[in-house]
């Protein structure tokens, strides 16, 4: 009887450990973005503009955005990118102006899904975000005047993923 109980406990333990292992692997995969989509975005040299204003990608739970500030090193032009919730660009730009273009003040704005740091010329940063559904996700540069005055903004069109 004791042997039988021990056997059942061992089998159950193995099952639980295996489950936990699988879950950890899934988490690792999620964090590494292996099951996601990667997007690259940069600036147009020394212009205050993104190199793309419209990007289409299939829906994924994890999207990795890599942003490169291509401005020449001596130009001192800082850039960043913030991905916003669909339909929130006008509200966000008003809030940005009211904040005095202060990154520390604006970083907790509810419209922001993800935002890079202000990057010096030549620098790059990758960030991950997790859209809840397909849609048109605006992206903007938060540096003073870049989006609201000089039009440094675009749209990430996240389409329904095709069935394999």
């Amino acid at each position: 009887m004791l042997n039988k109980t021990l056997k059942i406990v061992s089998i159950l333990s193995l099952f639980i450990l295996n489950k936990q292992g699988l879950s950890k692997d899934k988490d690792k995969e999620r964090l590494a973005g292996k099951s996601g989509v990667t997007v690259s975005l940069s600036t147009k040299g020394n212009d205050i503009a993104f190199d793309q204003t419209s990007i289409q990608i299939p829906f994924a739970e994890n999207i990795t955005l890599t942003f490169v500030n291509q401005a020449l090193k001596g130009s001192e032009i800082l850039h960043n990118v913030a991905v916003l919730k669909p339909g929130s660009v006008d509200t966000f730009l008003k809030a940005l102006q009211l904040s005095g273009y202060d990154l520390d003040k604006i970083k907790n704005d509810p419209s922001i899904l993800v935002m890079t740091e202000a990057l010096a010329p030549g620098a790059s940063q990758s960030v991950q975000f997790h859209p809840s559904e397909p849609g048109f996700y605006p992206f903007v540069c938060v540096m003073p005047g870049h989006a609201d005055m000089l039009g440094m903004k675009g749209t990430l069109n996240i389409t329904k993923a095709s069935k394999k």
């Binding site: 202000a118 003073p144 005047g145 005055m149």
Partner: protein
């Protein structure tokens, strides 16, 4: 005709006394942190830095963009409407100057 001659000076007077105010950009800062102008006054921005600047205001009715201003160059903007605006440089986020027109 007589009435026209009476009204004409009243229309011209505010702009006849319009002034030019010079703001220097040096050390990645404006020479003033705030300035008060009369309607019709000009702000002349002199770039005495060795880097480019880009002065703009995003606030209506004083919205404007001077564009990229290279070292050694001058650019100006005329302020016709009363209001308050914070002018900034699109390249150097810490540069700002408050302009009041009244």
């Amino acid at each position: 005709m007589k009435r026209f001659l009476v009204i004409l000076p009243l229309v011209i007077t505010p702009f006849a006394f319009a002034k030019d105010h010079i703001i220097t950009q040096k050390g990645k800062a404006f020479s003033e942190s705030e300035i008060t102008l009369a309607p019709g006054d000009n702000l002349i921005f002199k770039n005495d830095d060795d880097t480019s600047h880009n002065v703009f205001s995003a606030v209506e009715p004083m919205k404007f963009n001077l564009g990229i201003q290279k070292p050694g160059s001058e650019a100006s903007h005329k302020f016709d409407s009363a209001g308050v605006a914070e002018l900034r440089c699109a390249i150097h986020p810490k540069m700002k100057i408050k302009v009041t027109v009244k």
